[in-house]
Subunit: 210 residues, 2 copies
DNA sequence: CCTACCGATCGGTAGG
DNA sequence: CCTACCGATCGGTAGG
């Protein structure tokens, strides 16, 4: 009995479509782990292939270039990040509640050091305008700032924000604090991240909440 | 006439001691530039040598391993950083004044993008415990936190700090904000860093200054 | 002509 | 400090 014919029903042989999706997921998982420790520049395609249990050329078949692989890894990170954020709070909180939900999201991140390491390591390399993840980093920061800005504007419309509050600076500060706390947490300088971020939100409320 | 003998007076030939120090400084300057863009892992000894105008083995003569070179580059960064911090304020301010002086120091850093890039890029790689700059990164963060803690304790002794202020979290937040703002500034998400940091200090004062 | 790979090797470069 | 090299590994591609 021939295997891999062009007939529509295949009682034996490899289920091709499903295998491809599962294989890609395997690759993305091990690549994320390697990038998170050694960075994009410090990780070779061969090492990713070996960790995924396939050949180098097998890896290239799924991701033609190393840049393609990085892009897929970071897209997957964002998807998992968003999925977890939504799982925590069914509907997205608004106004100051959004800030407190963000603290909870950071507390959740303390259970996922691999994700935090991936973000921090790749961000460090990606400040170089020539780095393949530079556009991703800018997009990520701008999207995060935008969501914070929306929350502050909701607070303002509800009369809960001082009219002279420096909106943009506050948004950027929260993003900066989250990024910087990750570095300190990963190196052991800080025991956590959420309590520190909560301290920032508390100070903001003391100064600019109405 | 022989060149480079061990006699004390050399009317001709290369003044060796001076040359060595100057050459090392040249190497450290170009290495800092390369590390700041491509990172430690993304920079080769050969490329450093070429940029410094010497051979690969000539570079190895001054810095036996790549790790030695990185250590010297980061030590030099810290020296220049400290020198500029002292130049700004003759004596180190105390209490809340120290926080405001730090904002001024960050404003000064906006004139030195290369230094900021070096710090951010190497920090990103160095969260890996196996990275040669991991110890440097931890030392840097702990020293910065210690100086901030001293300042807050001076404020407390002067009765200018609420007794329930979360000292450690505040110190780590300031360090995190400085690090994170550097990333956003380098990628163009934020137009500056000092105004944002000043916003953090203002919020802290509103919440915990007495 | 398709898919999901394989073993082998391309021209160059890495740190030392 | 140079020329001349090493063992190995880089990202990417060949034909089958």
């Amino acid at each position: 009995m021939p295997t891999g014919t062009s007939t529509t029903s295949r009682p034996s042989g490899r289920p091709r479509g499903a295998d491809t999706a599962a294989r890609r997921e395997d690759i993305l998982r091990v690549a994320a782990e390697l990038f998170s420790v050694d960075g994009y520049r410090g990780t070779s395609m061969s090492r990713v292939a070996k960790a995924a249990g396939i050949s180098h050329t097998g890896l290239v078949h799924h991701f033609p270039t190393k840049d393609d692989l990085l892009g897929a890894v970071m897209d997957r990170r964002d998807e998992l990040d968003t999925a977890r954020a939504f799982a925590d709070a069914g509907a997205r909180p608004t106004g100051w509640d959004y800030l407190h939900a963000m603290v909870q999201m950071v507390r959740n991140n303390e259970e996922h050091p691999g994700m935090v390491r991936l973000f921090t390591t790749v961000s460090g390399e990606a400040v170089d305008p020539e780095h393949p993840a530079n556009a991703w980093l800018r997009r990520h920061h701008e999207a995060t700032v935008r969501r914070l800005r929306n929350a502050f504007q909701q607070a303002a419309e509800a009369g809960q924000l001082a009219p002279d509050a420096p909106l943009d600076a506050m948004c950027r500060l929260i993003v900066a604090a989250m990024d910087g706390l990750q570095t300190q947490w990963l190196t052991g300088t800080a025991p956590g991240m959420a309590d520190e971020l909560a301290c920032l939100v508390e100070a903001f409320e003391a100064r600019w909440r109405r």
